[in-house]
């Protein structure tokens, strides 16, 4: 199992062919109080870079892009009742959706935890 990061502040946890996707703690901190998360429907085929989800804070809506391509197989239903999970547990309980990876080579373009930390420190 390994975790990847994007420069759009998403994390991708890969186990076999399945990836779990969420936004990073840095991202939730920047967005502030999250009041709604629009997740994709199960069965959606996402291409890398597609609009995958929308995070709504009190003031603004922010797009979340698909970090990797694949078919959405599960969404985090808990976010419907408790969107604040993204604030309190962005990188664990506040995950957005799971997908079946269609192109594992895309992972090569992503950062590992150390590289992402250096990226954030440089912002």
């Amino acid at each position: 199992m390994s975790r990847y990061f994007t420069d759009e502040h998403e994390w991708v946890e890969v186990e076999g062919d399945t990836a779990t996707v969420g936004i990073t703690d840095y991202a939730q901190e920047q967005l502030g109080d999250i009041v709604f998360v629009e997740v994709p429907e199960v069965g959606t085929e996402l291409e890398q870079g597609d609009d995958a989800a929308v995070v709504e804070s009190v003031k603004a809506a922010s797009d979340v892009y698909a970090a990797v391509s694949g078919e959405v197989i599960e969404v985090n239903e808990a976010l419907e009742e408790e969107p604040g999970l993204v604030n309190t547990s962005a990188e664990e309980d506040g995950w957005f959706f799971r997908l079946t990876l269609s192109d594992k080579e895309e992972l090569d373009d992503l950062m590992d935890e150390k590289a992402y930390k250096a990226f954030v420190d440089g912002l």
Binding site: D33, V35, F36, E38, E56, S57, V58, K59, E80, P83
Partner: protein, 372 residues
Amino acid sequence: MSENTDNLKQLPLGDWHRALGARMVPFAGYEMPVQYEGVMAEHIWTRTEAGLFDVSHMGQLQLIGEGAAEALEKITPGNLSALAAGKIRYTLLLAPDGGILDDLMVTNTGNHLYLVVNGATKHDDIAYMRDQLPGHLTLNHLEDAALLALQGPKAGAALANLVPDSAGLYFMEAGSFFWNDIPLGISRSGYTGEDGFEISIAAEHAVALANALTDLEEVRPIGLGARDSLRLEAGLPLYGHDMNAAILPVEANLAFALSKARREEGNFAGAEQVLAQYPDKAEKMRVGLFVDGRQPIREGAAVIDASGAAIGSVTSGGFSPTLQRPVAMAYVPTALAQSGTAITVEQRGRAIACTVADMPFVPHNYHRKPKP
């Protein structure tokens, strides 16, 4: 819209905000604090305690000279010549065709008019007023003054600690006061729906006043993010979003700003176009919306009819921290403007059910003068 961050001007309290950990963003050409601890917490603090807002980006103007009020009436629909000394009036700056160029507060200080206009429009406002007003009047832009807003149910008690006489002001009254020998222009008004004040002070003393206020247990600094969610709950329109130069006062749901005397005189800029809509002849109206579910709708989303055609648009939208549900303002056809009417809004290809709602969404809590 993203702004170029290279040429941002600094406000007198810029370093003060940064020292308190504010996140700074470009706004109206200035670098301004959008939040400190978080929009939700700051919003709720203002509704229950007292919040301090730096609104120094707004334009503070003086209009000086004989007949200033009568002259300003030519480009506003407010009964300014009847405004008593120490009183404040909300009014609109109107273009020759009646379009809204800005909304503003006008105070009769006793020897001149003091105007507060929006930050993003102040330079255009000044140019328009200089063009429209007679040459013997003087229009000063108080660029060396800061403006602090203290808002919330504990604002009155908080300010009385520093300026005891401020307790004598009622809503929409203003006066000159001193704090440690520093002159303050204090208005009991604001943009949150709460009791509170707007305090004009020389820029060089602004940090000292901000510190003295935030040293009080009940006062915390509040950013622009909560200022926006507070005014939305209070049903107060934001210039450039909920009204603009293509919108007339009645359709903006601001008919209350057309005073009876001025309607009868009908001699302000665009009076013909403005009064043609009065009181209920506008084809569209700005209304409040309750949004079903928890997903906020945002500015730019379309109001659609049963066939999916756009019939209006959302001009402000967000999540109400007080009500814990999304609310919005939108322009809808007047036939659909009645409170309780079901409306559909389309956002990112999805239809979202809404209901027209009375504004304010959260009741105003002003310190009004008791009726005799």
